[in-house]
Amino acid sequence: MSEGLVFVLEAQDIVKTFPGVRALNGVNLKIKKGETHALVGENGAGKSTLMLTLGGVHKPDSGRILLNGKPVTFSSPQDAVAQGISVVYQELSLVPALSVAENIFANRQPVGALGLIRRREMLKKAQELLALFDLEDLDPSTPVSRLSLANQQVIEILKAISTNPSVLILDEPTSSLTEHEAKRLFENLARLNQRGISCIYISHHLSEIFKVAHSVSIMRDGNWVCDARVSDIDEEFLISNMVGRTLVDIYGVRPSPDTFGPVRLDVTGLNREREFSDVSFQLRAGEIVGFSGLVGAGRTEVAHAVFGATLPDSGRVLVDGQEIKLRSPRQAIRAGIGYLTEDRKSMGLYLDFNIRENLVSNRLHRFTFGPFMNDKAIDQAADKAIADYRIATKSARKTVRMLSGGNQQKVLLGAWIGIEPKVLIVDEPTRGVDIGARSEIYGFLRQLAGRGTAIMLISSDLTEILGLSDRIVVMKGGRIAGEVPADRATEESVISLATASNINGGKA
């Protein structure tokens, strides 16, 4: 601290509002040169908005950004890059058909006199960058589409650091990586730190923070809560500051196990090549069973097969003791199974249709008068759903695209609860949903279970799994790795099952 310049990047009292939402409410951030600084917070805490503000996408309403001690403003993302802040976005932004080198130097290729790309120079520069991450063997003229997802991400990072940034921002960089690949990423970030590049690391996986970061800032509901040296804190400190309230409040009261009814969903020996194998489990009436596991453990794939969206190679699915044919979602719905997809925008909702059209999309046959649609009945059902699920809208004819994430999710959940399912599979039911709507959604799920529906809860959010489930099934590598009763489950016990390496491939 003896140097005059302590922080390479400093954000002071950043405020950013959107109509009706105060996304950032006086956020402070201090990043030292050559360190990795983690940014944690729940969905909707404002991490992304902060990142977009630092990356020049949003302009703050008030507050200052200091870069190397000097106040700066960014007129555009390009301007932010030019001044030394590069962002590696969550979605890969690479052009698959173009070469590694062309992707790294997209739009900044070295050119000669006639504006033609100087290919050899570009390849050489790409080679130098690849060497930085031990990828000397990779030919920079390879098309990106031939690389693994992990290597594609490396290219994405190289693309970002090819502009010589002083700060590199990474948003959920491990979300599609295996554990081994994530470890390699952490090593690469450490190398960047050694070269004096600071990193801002946004992640949901709290355990990662302790592996990769030197310091951490915690955000909650658009507010900056505190920052700390990672060595001074533990995971519990992070969670309690992120959530800011006791978890019992938002998850409601867990019913006693003897209130559960008979088995509603019985899955035996379900297999699908390269996705999952020998999956068997049961869900009882009134029970919420959490499915935990790492990304790629096969949970969503199992859900798709049970719902008939994909065809399993073998296995049986029984609903209320009756075997159902796993041919199509249509048949699953007829048998009383509902599935709330993890990807509500591209697979769940009809974004350009209005609320009422979305609410009845999966049960048009219930609203007919002879061969015709019964618009009055639809209006009534829609009005009731809007009231029941507290969907914030003035009219049932508002386009769903214009609703917030939380309200969109309520519409989708309303549609599925509307079929009065015997079994409801909810896949990441609160992804991208703010904390208020989240606790409401937990309430609706608990009520639905109370009416006798069996609920399969797939979630990557461990606190959600621990808080809402009556029982926790853990999957790993396409198999069920084990089961933990909710009252004895801890984050450690679930994670250790999800990551344990001593599974011998047999039945759990």
Binding site: S346, N362, L364, L403
Partner: protein, 323 residues
């Protein structure tokens, strides 16, 4: 007054107003415009494309697209004519002709829905395939000398209204009602709105998509047969460029290439608007070469207005739901 506001927001209303405006202007500018002969000729001229537009609207609502309708018109028309001149009874020949159209639709639909080839590419191939087959089948010759009780299909008049117009009007009324109100066809809007979501909503996506192509083939065959009956002869070049006129009418009428929107009434009004513009330019003595140009301009204008509406929505969205 709410219903009035809603009405003015409908695309159909907008086109109807434009159609009415042109009609009123024309009735003052040209003494011939309001002659029943002129109006009947106008309707007769667009009846063939209007018949196909009914099915094309449904297809485009479901997110599909068919470039091959003009070739289906020629192929089924020629095939039916060949059957007739070889002495096959009228009813049998017509039914076979319709079945051939439906079969071509099935062919298109199967390749698109089950094999997963893009609709544009698939039906572009069909456009050449069936135009080619028409030429092979007829050796490039027109077929005439059709039985009189076949020609009735296209030449009979009820209160001075010729059958192609009657057939088109009946199908338009029926098609509009069914597409607007029936549960079965409502499913197509969901498929066009978001195909993946529709599948997860339990809508039989592949079946509906294939059906949409079958119906389009069937309607194109009907149009082809009606046209042959009206002219009393089958021409190998009939229906050339028809697909573009039909698709233009459907888009002017409020459908989009993405699917999820559009109505039969809108498509008919779109077709009427195009016919009216052509008619007006002719009556006003404008150089005939301008007609195609004006149709293009109308299409562009219609989608630009649509885009403007979307942009406004997007801006509202940006202001409303940023996180």
């Amino acid at each position: 007054m709410n219903w009035l506001k809603n009405l003015t927001r409908q695309r159909e209303f907008m086109i109807a107003v434009i159609v009415a405006a042109i009609a009123v202007t024309m009735s003052f500018s040209s003494p011939y415009f309001l002659y029943p002969e002129n109006l009947m000729a106008l309707l007769l001229g667009l009846s063939i494309e209007a018949i196909i537009a009914v099915a094309m609207t449904h297809l485009m609502v479901s997110g599909g697209f068919d470039m091959s309708v003009g070739s289906i018109v020629a192929f089924t028309g020629s095939a039916t004519a060949l059957l007739l001149v070889s002495g096959i009874p009228v009813v049998v020949a017509v039914v076979l002709g319709l079945l051939v159209g439906a079969a071509i639709g099935l062919f298109n639909g199967f390749i698109i829905a089950k094999v997963g080839i893009n609709p544009f590419v698939t039906t572009l191939a069909s456009l050449s395939l069936f135009r080619g087959l028409t030429l092979i089948l007829t050796q490039g010759k027109n077929i005439s000398g059709l039985p009189a009780d076949f020609n009735v299909i296209g030449q009979f008049r009820l209160f001075d209204v010729q059958t192609p117009i009657l057939i088109a009007l009946v199908l338009i009324v029926l098609g509009d009602t069914v597409l607007r109100r029936s549960r079965f066809f409502r499913q197509s809007y969901y498929i066009g709105g978001n195909e993946k979501a529709a599948r997860l909503s339990g809508i039989p996506v592949d079946r509906m998509k294939i059906l949409a192509y079958v119906l389009t083939g069937l309607f194109a065959a009907l149009a082809g047969i009606v046209m042959v009956a009206r002219l009393g002869a089958a021409s190998t070049t009939s229906g050339t460029g028809l697909e573009l006129r039909v698709i233009t009418a459907v888009i002017i009428g409020g459908a989009s290439l993405q699917g999820g929107q559009g109505t039969v009434l809108g498509a008919f009004l779109g077709s009427l608007l195009m016919g009216l513009i052509t008619n007006a330019l002719t009556l006003l003595g404008v150089d005939v070469y301008w007609q195609t140009f004006v149709i293009g301009a109308t299409l562009l204008l219609a989608v630009l207005i649509d885009r403007y509406g979307k942009l406004r929505t997007e801006k509202m969205e940006l202001r409303g739901m940023n996180k």
